[in-house]
């Protein structure tokens, strides 16, 4: 049961870690692709 408990906790941590990486990836993707608002006006 100790191993099963370890699997339970570690899998929860792993999935949230992967989700965090994906979240950061999407946020960076959104920011890098979206046109910068107001950039034209500044020029």
């Amino acid at each position: 049961m100790r191993l099963a408990f370890w699997i339970l906790i570690s899998r929860m941590v792993i999935i949230m870690a992967v989700m965090t990486v994906l979240y950061l990836g999407i946020v960076i993707l959104n920011k890098s692709v979206r046109p910068k608002t107001g950039a034209k006006e500044e020029r």
């Binding site: 949230m16 989700m19 965090t20 979240y23 692709v33």
Partner: protein
């Protein structure tokens, strides 16, 4: 009499009670699908497969029978679930999720039910109580019912080589249809009416096409580099989505959404039905598998809602905690449930797009969670 029994005719003389019960179950599935319109696309092929597999002397599910050939060709090789994933990817619009990337955390949290059910199943089985024969891999396969995603459940259970593949697959597909019954009481018990009525900000403006194209590629690479066992699952899902979004493969996207999805659904459904043979299905363990399946869906909902409540507080009550329940990947049933409950609490509260964001995030998270469970084998 021996001549009659050995003639290959008069199948009813060979009818066992197990076969009779399974034929009745097949009939019920057909009734639900046809008369009650409950997931007919799945239940009609499954019910038909179940009937054919259990007719004595029919041989459909015997060695060399067509249902056995389909099982070996499509399930044992994991081909059918992966093809279905291409179709699902081509059908899903990830825009609501891309506009709300934080919903990926709700998708992740709503997979905790998988891991909790694994722990529970193992405790009931070989780990502690020894009620039934559930080893660690069986418990992991049962847990994946909580992915609320039939193809993921089939894929993971097949690789884990569980003894309970048939009941696990049937439970996974049955409970997806029951999401509108399982989720509302849990959501209502955890969230008061005032919070259920919380309105959320409407997003305006479309996501740039480049984001939609880069998203499936980025996801495949990122997830693949972190959890390589997930590559077949997430790769097929994202490949289907790339066909949809890239703009130059319209015919392939249309084929994936239509013909491919329909053909594989027919084959998968009838094969799953063919796995419902009395000798394999009518065991005490089956009841426990179904009970653990409900537990998995309930625990998914609870964990998703709990994170939804946390995000609600952290955002200054700008996020309705109910969308946490959509982190399970039962798409679009779960979104519809939350939309309905939101309107019940506040007639001007339209949560569908927010819920769809969490729901599609849950689709990705469930695939990754299934792959994470596969790490038991590597």
């Amino acid at each position: 009499m021996d001549w009659i029994l050995g003639s290959g005719l008069f199948g009813f003389l060979h009818l066992t009670w197990q076969a009779a019960v399974m034929m009745a179950i097949g009939g019920v599935l057909l009734y639900l699908g046809i008369a009650k319109n409950v997931e007919p696309v799945l239940l009609v092929p499954i019910g038909s497969g179940c009937l054919m597999a259990n007719i004595p002397l029919g041989g459909a599910a015997d060695a060399g029978g067509f249902l056995t050939v389909l099982r070996e060709f499509g399930i044992v090789t994991e081909l059918f679930p992966l093809l279905i994933f291409i179709a699902i990817g081509a059908m899903i619009d990830f825009e609501p999720f891309l506009q709300r990337p934080y919903t990926i955390f709700l998708g992740g949290a709503a997979q905790f039910g998988i891991f909790l059910t694994f722990f529970l199943g193992y405790a009931l089985g070989d780990g502690w109580l020894h009620l039934l024969e559930f080893d660690m891999k069986d418990a992991a396969a049962i847990g994946t019912i909580g992915s609320a995603d039939g193809p993921t459940t089939i894929y993971v259970s097949t690789i884990l080589q569980t003894k309970y593949l048939a009941p696990i697959v049937v439970a996974a597909y049955s409970y997806m249809a029951l999401v509108p019954i399982i989720q509302p009481p849990i959501i209502k018990a955890m969230i008061n009416k005032q919070d259920r009525g919380l309105k959320m900000e409407v997003y305006v403006g479309a996501t740039p096409q480049r984001v939609k194209i880069l998203f499936p590629i980025l996801t495949t690479v990122l997830v693949g580099l972190i959890a390589p066992v997930a590559v077949p699952l997430i790769g097929c899902l994202m490949f289907g989505n790339l066909l949809r979004e890239c703009g130059v493969t319209k015919n392939l996207a249309v084929t994936s959404q239509g013909e491919l999805a329909n053909i594989v659904t027919i084959l998968l459904g009838v094969t799953v039905g063919g796995m419902m043979q009395g000798t394999e299905f009518l065991k005490p363990e089956t009841i426990l598998v179904f009970a653990l399946g409900v537990a998995a869906f309930a625990l998914d909902t609870v964990s998703g809602v709990l994170l939804g409540k946390l995000i609600c507080v952290l955002s200054g009550r700008k996020v309705n905690p109910m969308i946490g329940a959509c982190g399970i990947s039962a798409f679009p049933m779960s979104s519809r449930v939350v939309q309905k409950l939101g309107l019940e609490a506040n007639p001007y509260n339209h949560l569908l797009m927010h819920a769809a964001g969490a729901n599609t995030a849950g689709q990705i998270a469930s695939v990754i969670a299934g792959a994470v469970m596969l790490m038991l084998t590597v």
